[in-house]
Symmetry: D2
Subunit: 356 residues, 4 copies
């Protein structure tokens, strides 16, 4: 069903890019969680556009307003609702090209699904902007998880041709995760920052965009979280990940590299470390049989290059059914990977909360 | 929640590898669907073990017995339940090593989750055997989809080092899908059959196993199926895919290769063909904004090498918390990729039925 | 789970009586439904307080603001969200007695559930005010049902000692339902209006309140809606009805009178009328085996007297655990039955939409 | 959806009266619960037919077979499935009258819903027999609740003209509940047993049947269980209760009598007893604001007289659309109230487990 997710933590997201407001209703939060609103604002800012030359110039403070479920600084456990008003809207940009469906956007598939009745302005309900309420929910989820000793952190693993392979799936700690937060680009390896900036600015200069990949990990998670059928932790993370616009792939641990290997090389053998059962390697990304094994949960998502580019593209007019040429004007992101990092953290945190 | 999936099509799977029976209850099937039981048996046989030297020697006819929801040859729309009895059980093989958790299996994570109360014999509820009821449900789903002109087909894309890259995401038709069904190994490219057999037999000879990748496609599907949040078609397929033991990654269309590219190169531009809106390329794998666009739905999953191998492995005794060496005897698959192909078709068909 | 309901039509309600706003997110609405906002406002007014001496003096316009899912006059099928701001708040009235739990209110059970963290002001999330978003959703649902020829109408069947037994479960038509809408008190039998007013004003004069019962019917509904297990139409209506504060009983058709009878007297025998299968009587209230039989769906709910009264009551201070005497001041309804009528219509319409 | 219920405890029921087997899959049970199978058999026997002259002569041992989720005497927390084979089937009795829809049965509404494809024999999926798996699930739920100090018990409150009003909603204890279990007819007041037997045997003699009412209570339940919206404890109990064939009404505590009263008379005032907050009266039936308040949860359901009677009835042939006269032969219950008692206990226990 559109808009709704979860049995234990229930999320009901809503809004269109150029409507009055976007928001989310969150059910299943326990009472008495002290919420640090400043921390939530920081996460909102990590996703927000207009911060530097690497993203779109649309400026949205993404100021949220909590309407319910939060009282005197604490969660109440009644439905927590939040809205984010839409401010810097330039709808004219879109109406011009409204019937020329934009390649690799939801314009055409959405037109068919909604029988032409959906709000097309700015991508409407398909807009990446709708992930802002997800980031709010995720920031809240992260605070709840932190109170249980679980930490979530994501970073850029690739942008276009540039890869950062310095990630260690076994030896992760909170310091590593925290160190990324203060960087302009959330990368493990500082030496890659300039190369990746160049990829993005190149794309911008060419009126183009570039894709990438994000690695996310959860540490401090106990063994025993998840199910074999059908709500494996992988299933729930993947379910939410593929709700994030532009995500086109997900892999856990070794992921697609498993396909090339023998078990004798990639099985995660057990040993005892500090009185706990651990694995020498973490090729399974902390999940075996759909259930956590106590190792860091590690996954990677593929982000396609944002399809809004200013280059000319061949397309079709959905009303007249004639072929035509589209040139998208307006403000666009040359790369959204750096903005999606915090969204991936959000869905990881929400998935774990759903299964905890 | 363990065992249950879906709002429109609801699946309730159950059973343990060495219990009395495994099975599934399927809700949400429309009444009056004529079921071809022979076709279902064929799909069951595609998954069943013991057919040749490429899989385990455990012999299970996987004979199913429909208990309800099926009357005089047609579905009734009341809950359809089916059981498959377990016959060829050699539980002794497992009890010997019961406390030595098998690397990369669900033994340890399951022990923690179920507090040691779960049936450990033969992997219990974690066994790949539990996918047999899924294949039944999928075979039924495929018949329903076929009555609507939708066809599902999967094939091996890789085993170990050997890749078959002859797949064309744009020009797919029923003949291509059907041609795979009659082959001993479900491959597009006949020239790869011997190479892949060699990979599997090598693994067998070494007491090892080998991983692979499966490509699956759905053709004849109308645009408009799926949702932006949270039940994108990608989300629902991925959710079910990660319930299939050994699946560790999924990607749609270009998938992880999107990360390396520019939008100008990978956007799927539109044109008109035979009066219908189509895309020149199909990098999005038939899904944009979480919704089908009328192109073939195409995805790929990574299958890890089945972790049961006869080589010695380091592990831990979960009762004594001592490190030890494990040597798994009994019957094992050197490669499960060819058996999983029909399971992936099943989950693809069920996912589409859920969202149709 | 708190706040969320439904698989086909999903409702996510939120808000507290004295918070910033209350509202609802509605999923599963089809696209292209033209919404008559004036009609929705009329339903909101039927529930709103402060209209005359029969209800509380709190004045709330209950002006709703649609944030999403509604575009250029039509539903879009993306999540439809609406908020209603809280205006006429006198929170001081409540803080005085905050720790003295009010008898028959949710104060004590809520305090335990929410561990004392919930917003207690004005009943918080327990307030009857939270039914305003339900009325919005119901008014929308009624418009969708009307487009399919289904009409919903409710009326007062009893207030205190005064009963109106003029209801005919077999011969119902739209004119009967419409005629009730224009009355000050929604009663079938005009001759009872003065008696019922007297019951209410008596209660008011005594600083007391009085209960009642509401009868609701749906006409024009086809046979075949509902399920035997577990989502009988009765189950779904009852589920929603018992979410409405003050509802303490529900019965379909003959209801509890069935307990006294023989089948030969109360079975609904079939005949043919105008080419359709009908029953002579409608003791089953239009639902047999959990499924509609084409007769009007008819049910009755019991409404307890609103527990806020100005008479002294014995209670307990939840902080000090001392017994004490409570005298509730502020504005109260001597009778809420007339205001709940439209809420019952709302839940009936939503239940049918869920199963249609 | 047909057949499936619950988010925390998920039930998937299946089967037809004259099919191979009926059964249920139960998810969400915690691991390590020791199940007393003898106790479950006793509950099954309480519902089973053919025990004496008060019920139908169909003899079904209702022997259940647990297929999964139960290992070495304990629950495993993997899906627990159970089947009950159908033995004493006389399908010929039904085929004679197959097209003459039986008044007040699901024959007609089911025919429309299932488009004529459902198994009509013996009522098919509408049969009261399908409650046997519910009794199994309930018996299991009761054992889990008992381990937490919660006890469930139900008794006959009325059969036809005879009422037993000896129930005390405030002072309930385990001894009272247990004392009912050993009686031939589950009644509080022994003096009513003969009168009620007479009502039943009268109905039998007349080829008729008689309705009744059942009271159910849960004791030992903590305050704080349930939700205001939408899953009030009343909502969940009612949802399940209206899945039980023949239930046509439900009321909590004072129920419909609330409609006649003033708050000053029926509000449940608080006091302290043994250091705990209690109410003097229990008119709310232990639930306020949808949430338990620590008093016994008390509700009553109305059971319509079973519609299968041997008297002649007017009906319609659904194939020819002609009016006709139906005379139902075969074995019938003159009263099902005494057999439904344990079913009501089952749904009460399952509802509480869902919300605990």
């Amino acid at each position: 069903m559109s808009g709704n997710f979860g049995k234990k933590i229930n999320l009901s997201i809503f809004g269109e890019s150029h409507g009055k407001a976007i928001g989310i209703v969150i059910n299943g939060i326990e009472p008495g969680i002290k919420i640090d609103l400043e921390k939530i604002k920081k996460d909102m800012a990590r996703r927000a556009p207009g911060r530097n030359t690497l993203s779109t110039q649309r400026k949205e403070g993404d100021n949220f307003e909590i309407l319910s479920g939060f009282f005197e600084g604490y969660t109440t456990a009644t439905p927590l609702s939040v809205i984010i008003k839409n401010n810097d809207i330039k709808s004219k940009d879109y109406s011009k090209i409204k019937d020329l469906v934009r390649p690799s956007h939801g314009d055409f598939s959405g037109f068919v699904k909604y029988n032409g009745f959906n709000d097309y302005r700015g991508g409407g309900h398909f807009s990446g902007r709708i992930t802002a309420p997800l980031v709010f929910a995720g920031a809240l989820a992260k605070q709840i998880l932190e109170s249980k000793g679980i930490y979530v952190g994501a970073h850029i693993q690739r942008v276009g041709k540039v890869e950062d392979d310095s990630f260690d799936r076994v030896n992760l700690n909170k310091e590593v995760l925290d160190s990324i937060l203060v960087k302009e680009l959330p990368l493990l390896n500082n030496e890659k920052i300039d190369e990746i900036k160049r990829e993005i600015l190149n794309a911008r200069q060419n009126g183009d965009s570039v894709g990438g990949a994000i690695e996310c990990s959860l540490i401090g998670i106990n063994p025993g979280i998840g199910n074999p059928f059908f709500d494996s932790l992988e299933s729930v993370i993947a379910h939410l990940a593929f709700s994030v616009p532009a995500v086109k792939g997900i892999e856990f641990g070794l992921g697609f590299d498993f396909a090339k290997e023998n078990a004798s090389k990639v099985n995660d053998e057990y040993h005892i470390k500090n009185g706990k059962i651990r694995t020498y390697t973490n090729n399974n990304g902390g999940i075996v049989g759909g259930i956590t094994n106590g190792m860091p949960v590690v996954f990677r998502v593929a982000i396609k290059p944002t399809p809004s580019i200013s280059k000319e593209q061949r397309t079709v007019n959905i009303k007249t059914m004639e072929e035509g040429i589209l040139k998208i004007e307006g403000r666009h992101d040359p790369c959204i990977v750096q903005r999606v990092v915090v969204v991936i953290e959000a869905i990881a945190a929400l998935a774990v909360l759903e299964l905890l």
